[in-house]
Amino acid sequence: MNKEQIFNIVIEHSRELLPELEGHTFQYSDRLTDLGANSVDRAEIVMMTMEALSLHIPRVELFGASNIGELVDLIYDKLQLV
């Protein structure tokens, strides 16, 4: 699984939760907060992505990303360990 594939999974779940982002062209530098996702939405996007990737780790280990690109990096790194 490369970073672009993970990025696309994050986008897919972001659009599923926030349908108004359908026409948005996502960038690695996009912040979910700026796209209208509140705390609950952000946690949901992280969890849906974890489930899609069958990544079984504590959710708190995916905390700390300040934009989608950093979230993708975090997930990518975790996937290398399992």
Binding site: N38, V40, A43, F63
Partner: protein, 421 residues
């Protein structure tokens, strides 16, 4: 084995409230997705209200209903709070004094963020179950307020303010724990606990909060899953939907509980969206009602959700309630107990919903005035005299005597009973 649990339980949601949607608009927050946070109102602590007045006002109706002999069997008074007013002297000493309890009584306080109430509750349950003093009762009072003297901008730990201010409430829940668990009989030993070090939300300075809402939410969800899995390992034949007729969750705000329930239903029993929505309405929503009116009262929130569940649920036959407690930092627990028709009838006599309805609803300029005036009672205040007529409309709305803070004299807090009607 002897049974143990809650003999009587009362919540006190303060004197004044604030519509949080109006607050969100006033703070110019993005209200587009605010509604899915499921916040409605919150209680606001007036300058003459503090964790002691909330605690005493919650416990008073329970104590007043007891005979002198029964009162004298209260051998332990535990206050549970993250809003302490002194590093050494616990709130329980004031509560003990103003309730006029026996001196042959242990007085102390518990702290572990929003888990504190559960820590006190379990301590009391174990004391009763141990039978080291047969017939003894314990008064557990979880009491917390949010004063919000704001942490400075740019601070590494500054909170997502837009999220914290509307959710932070003020209130207390008092519980009489004994071997007559009329209201809630615990399932002894059916406890799944889970804790580890995490810096999610905290109170590193007096009268404010810091931390990160996202991290706290993820930690809450991790703990929800891990405590339940531990409970499942200890209790045979457990099913997340079928074993518990109702679920009472620690409720920082309703949207968080809805998200957690959705996740648990999906992970534990592979439920699909329509079933989860219906199940949430049936098993969880009754417990959310009071929490949506009072806001997050930290250590007391889970038990506020429990009172709400008991008052608003349908208990034509005895039913089991699953309870999830989470306190940042962190410690969490999943436990359960049974509520009977008699228990619901007893609980409803305290008319908690009615008490919440009598609160005065603050206008935004009044709310700002409260925030300003709260400076007079900030942590470490040596001397102060409180104005009992601050927000005069709040005073005339209650008929039963209420404890209020009168003055602080050389750090000693002096309270009086307000009987204005």
């Amino acid at each position: 084995m002897i049974s143990a649990g809650i003999e009587a339980m009362n919540a006190f949601g303060g004197t004044v409230s604030l519509n949080v949607m109006e607050l969100a608009k006033y703070r110019k927050l993005d209200t587009g997705r605010f509604e899915n946070l499921l916040m409605v109102e919150k209680s606001v602590a007036l300058p003459y209200e503090d964790p002691v007045t909330f605690a005493v006002n919650a416990a008073k109706p329970i104590i007043d209903a007891m005979t002198e002999a029964e009162k004298n069997r209260i051998e332990m008074l535990i206050t549970c709070t993250e809003s302490g007013i002194d590093f050494g002297k616990s709130i329980s000493t004031y509560v003990h004094h103003y309730l006029g309890l026996s001196r042959n009584c242990r007085l102390f306080e518990m702290k572990q963020a929003c888990y504190a109430g559960t820590a006190g509750f379990q301590m009391a349950i174990n004391f009763v179950l141990s039978q080291v003093s047969p017939g003894a009762k314990v008064l557990v009072v979880a009491t917390d307020i949010s004063r919000y003297l704001k942490v400075e901008e740019g601070d590494e730990l500054s909170p997502d303010w837009s999220f914290v201010e509307p959710s932070g409430g003020a209130g207390a829940v008092a519980m009489l724990i004994s071997e007559q668990p009329v209201v809630f009989q615990v399932d002894p030993g059916a406890n799944g606990y889970y804790g580890y070090e995490v810096m999610d939300t905290c109170r590193p300075v007096p009268d404010s909060e810091a931390g990160n809402a996202d991290l706290s939410l993820l930690s809450y969800l991790d703990c929800c899953e891990q405590t339940y899995l531990e409970y499942e390992r200890r209790v045979s034949g457990v099913h997340y939907r079928d074993t518990f007729d109702y679920m009472a969750y620690h409720t920082p705000f309703g949207g968080m509980v809805k998200g957690a329930h959705r996740t648990m239903m999906r992970k534990m029993i592979k439920a699909k969206a329509p079933e989860i929505e219906q199940d949430f309405a049936e098993r969880v929503l009754p417990g959310l009602h009071y929490c949506q009116r009072v806001g997050n009262i930290m250590g007391a929130t889970l038990f506020l959700a429990l009172t709400s569940t008991i008052d608003r649920g349908s208990f034509d036959v005895p039913k089991r309630v699953g309870c999830f407690s989470y306190g940042s930092g962190c410690c969490a627990e999943f436990f359960s107990g049974v509520v009977t028709p008699e228990g619901q009838e007893r609980q409803r006599q305290l008319a908690i919903g009615q008490q919440l309805s009598t609160r005065y609803s603050l206008a935004m300029d009044e709310y700002e005035a409260v925030l300003q005036a709260s400076d007079i009672v900030k942590f470490g205040t040596k001397n102060a005299k409180l104005d009992p007529l601050f927000i005069p409309q709040a005073v005339v709305r209650h008929s039963a005597p209420r404890l209020v803070l009168d003055e602080i004299s050389n750090y000693h807090r002096i309270y009086k009973w307000s009987t204005v009607t």
